[in-house]
């Protein structure tokens, strides 16, 4: 009829458009940030207390019932009425047993409310221990926790349970050093429960290099999380942690960010123990102390602090220890994160510790009295405290002949200076103080800028940002493509920008020299800080020319002079003046490095005797001295 005409169709279209209709799709997931019905902290505490109170009342009733039963049993046994009452007692005992099994979950819940993760002790019941571990590791949700139950042949049989995380353990070690001896070497004639069961097992059945006895769940968890296998025995409130660590990790490779021509070619890895070993292979000295800490409430990341006990200032060691122990966070991403938690000025761009992936760089610093920090899972080791000048020293400086090493050092400082001020200086002079340029150079620059439609500061800014983009892209793009992007970006983009008259050749030269100079700084963090500073200088020189540049340079000098690296002034040995030891901007001969850095206030200040080349004072080898 009239239902299918233009008007009705229009009406239905409008109706459909305007009137709300519930969506046919299921509602999308929305993560609520702060649900209104979230109980307040005080309500939560009250609720927890009420639960605990109810649980305790239940246990009390059960305890009263057990006492009543024991009294009754005692009376009937003392009266000698065995026949008629024993039957009743038996029934009553069975009821108590049943009630106990019913109460077990409540007991577990109560104990977990009291902090299962804390210092709660292991139970003698294997089943109860298993239940607690299952609760701790959220089983059955968690799929990589393995429980392996075995029986050790003995009189009586020793029910045993092995707990470990799949993937964290070396299965070969586990099979040969734990399961094989436990399952094959046992005998029905032996009475392992006589005496100390755990001690018997450790001494007679576990041929591994490291075992540890634990009595609480906190230690048990720590061991399991670190790749140990936990052995828990029925009837004993103790467990054994067997060292079976064996997860996959990168092997020792060449340092990727700190290559040297003459230095060592091995770099740190992500494995803490490998890293400590690499340092120990360089510093083979019983004086080298490795202290371990756990940082991160949830990640429980291991942090190692290394120092030479007879050299490092005890106050410095204590202060660093205090700072590490004072870090309270969920997880620790890397050594860089730890440093930000413990350094003196985390808001300033300048690094206050030297990060390196070269063991041959850590060794000399440790012998100078510094402290090294290793974070498990990170190949960058931080050395502290350091001075500003340390960041311009390379690991091979002392491997090269004196004139070559000093030439390279001066070049690096000069590179750092260029990388910091060159674009700002170019802008300041070409904008505000053109008279400082020789006429010929001024004319060349002016000629090259003739066709450029932008002001010089805009050119410099564009090129600086482009250079930073190329650098960042080169780092992020994987493999060989990264290098290609860098080359293609720098050459083609620069050439294209000049051809298109967007920037002048002079600006490209300035930015290219600046970029090149910034790569002469051996430390990546210092190089990054200088990049940030360069932009700051550039902005102020656009506004105020050399006045702005001078002011910001002064600000930076004052900031640097006020900074401390873990209590040590950042600009030592220049400001404040201390005994330099001839290793600041240039270095002296190796045989004249007699003192350790004065600012470190080491226990033993002397590095080598005044005359370190003792052979100079002895007679030259003569005929007959060959052997």
């Amino acid at each position: 009829m009239i239902t299918n005409n233009v008007i009705t169709n229009g009406y239905y279209f409008l109706k459909k458009l305007l009137l709300y209709q519930p969506p046919s799709d299921p509602p999308p997931f929305v993560l609520e940030e702060t649900p209104d019905n979230k109980p307040s902290k005080s309500d939560q505490v009250t609720g927890e207390l009420e639960n605990s109170f109810q649980n305790l009342e239940t246990f009390l009733r059960y305890a009263n019932r057990v006492i009543a039963f024991l009294t009754k049993a005692n009376m009937s046994l003392s009266q000698g009425q065995y026949s008629d009452k024993t039957k009743n007692l038996k029934i009553e005992y069975q009821a108590l047993e049943k009630q106990q099994s019913e109460l077990e979950p409540i007991l577990l819940a109560y104990q977990s409310g009291q902090g299962v993760t804390g210092e709660r002790s292991l139970s003698t019941s294997l089943e109860e221990n298993r239940q607690i571990i299952e609760t701790l590791y959220h089983l059955p949700l968690n799929k990589d926790i393995v429980f392996r139950e075995i029986d050790i042949a003995s009189d009586p049989l020793v029910k045993t349970m092995a707990v470990f995380i799949d993937g964290m353990v070396d299965t070969k070690i586990q099979n040969y050093a734990i399961f094989q001896p436990l399952m094959l070497l046992g005998s029905d004639q032996r009475r392992l429960y006589d005496g100390d069961l755990v001690d018997n097992i450790i001494r007679k059945y576990l041929p591994t290099n490291q075992v540890q006895r634990v009595v609480n769940f906190a230690k048990l968890q720590e061991g399991i999380n670190n790749g140990d296998t936990a052995l828990i025995f029925d009837g004993v409130a103790e467990a054994i942690l067997v060292n079976t660590k064996g997860w996959e990790h990168r092997s020792i490779e060449k340092p990727s960010t700190e290559p040297t021509v003459r230095g060592s070619q091995s770099g740190f890895t992500e494995n803490l123990r490998t890293n400590t070993t690499l340092i120990r292979t360089i510093m083979r000295n019983s004086d080298l102390v490795t202290e371990l800490f756990k940082v991160g409430r949830r990640s429980q990341t291991t942090v190692a602090m290394l120092y030479m006990k007879s050299v490092a200032n005890p106050k410095l060691v204590a202060e660093i220890k205090r700072r590490i122990q004072g870090v309270c966070t969920d997880d620790l991403e890397s050594s860089g994160t730890l440093i930000q938690f413990i350094e003196d000025h985390p808001l300033l761009p300048f690094p206050q510790s030297l990060s390196t992936e070269r063991p041959d760089r850590v060794g000399p610093h440790l012998s100078e009295g510094r402290v090294a920090l290793i974070v498990d899972g990170n190949p960058y080791i931080h050395i502290l405290p350091v001075s500003f000048f340390t960041f311009f020293h390379a690991s091979e400086d002392f491997s090269l002949p004196l004139p070559i090493a000093n030439f390279q050092r001066i070049l690096r400082f000069f590179g750092a200076l260029i990388a910091t001020v060159l674009p700002a200086l170019y802008i300041a002079i070409s904008y505000f103080h053109v008279e400082a340029l020789p006429t010929q150079l001024l004319l060349t620059i002016a000629g090259s800028r003739e066709d450029i439609p932008f002001p010089a500061w805009f050119e410099v800014l564009i090129m600086e940002i482009s250079f930073e983009l190329i650098r960042e892209a080169g780092v992020r793009v994987p493999g060989i493509l990264g290098t290609t992007i860098g080359i293609v970006g720098a050459i083609i983009l620069g050439q294209a920008a000049i051809t298109a008259h967007i920037v002048s050749p002079a600006v490209v030269v300035v930015i290219a020299i600046t970029g090149l100079a910034s790569f002469t700084i051996p430390e990546y963090l210092m190089s990054s800080a200088i990049r940030v500073v360069r932009f700051l200088l550039l902005l102020f020189s656009i506004y105020m020319g050399l006045v702005g540049l001078a002011t910001i340079l002064l600000w930076l000098t004052v900031i640097l002079c006020s900074m401390k690296s873990f209590g040590m002034p950042y600009m030592v040995p220049i400001a404040p003046r201390t005994i330099a030891g001839f290793d600041v901007i240039v270095r002296g001969p190796v045989y004249s490095q007699n003192q350790r850095p004065d600012a470190l206030n080491t226990i033993d200040q002397k590095r080598q005797p005044q005359i370190s080349r003792l052979w100079k004072k002895k007679q030259p080898a003569e005929k007959g001295d060959e052997e």
Partner: protein, 367 residues
Amino acid sequence: MSFKNDRMGTAEGIALIFTMTITTVFVTLPSEIVEASGELGWLSEIASDLSTMAMLFLFIYVLERFPGDLFHVSTCLLGRLCACLISIYYVIMFFSVAILLLRDFSENTLFAALPELDFHSAVGWYAVSVGFILYFGIEGIARAAYIILPFSAGGMILTFVLLFPHYKPYYLFPWQGTGITNALIKNGVLVATNAAAPLLAVIAKSFQSIRVLRAAAIFGLGGSMLIKSIAILILIMVFGTSTATERTLPFFEMTRLISLNRYIQRIDSIFIMLWVIAGILGIAISLYMGLYLITRLVNLPTMKPLIPLVTLLLAQFSMLPPDSASVRALESILVKGYFLIGIYVIPILLFAATLLKEKWGTKCASE
């Protein structure tokens, strides 16, 4: 804020006193000295500096016997009321130095570096810079001054060397200028060109020992005296007395003359950086001394809250004189009058009190 005791050594002491006394070479003062003393202007500078050094040694004598800072020593020797008056005097003196330097360097900036910049912006820029670095304390400022010292001294010496082709030694004659007595006494000893030198006594507690103060007085003020007197000598040799007196910024104008070849010419722009840094440091150090004395006077735990307020006030004060001529007139009144009390009267007063106290054998309670 870092005004903890026993932190600064000889290097910092030398840098502080050198920076505070050398800044005058970048402003009009050398021309004024030449105007007053003629060809013997360099001698006036030496006379003024040596007399200031002698007064510093009086301070050091007092501080050796009564350790502490200026406020504590004055309280101990002359009583709290006198100590307050002395402190107030020095607060005004250091703030005056800061105001004059702020005004001088702002005008220098407009004249030599940024002619299109607004005057208020120039003053504001210096004030903000000074306020910012003051937050890092005297330790950081002194160390920065020490790092910059070789560059500033070296830069000035290099300028003197590069000006060699312009030397006209006969400009130094007649060598007696306006008269030896005039140069030594009236325009030398009685002109307080180093008004900020007593800073060593003001923050004496911050230095490690009396030996440090002594070294700072000798090498800091001595080095500054050497460079300033040479600068005046060369100014006369380059321009002659009559032209030199007309120069508003004599040092800057000397650098403009440098032209060794087509590549080394007009290096005055590079020296802009030098005098900007010296100026900011000079203003900051004077301001710090004034603020330090205020915190001691009213027993404040820190000076940080005062920094923005006082910097803003001083910036406003520095903009009050209508032109450079009135600034020069004000400066002349201060250096030939008010500042002389801080340079001569107070050290002699404290020295005399020390002698009397020693004679009577009375001791001071330590802080």
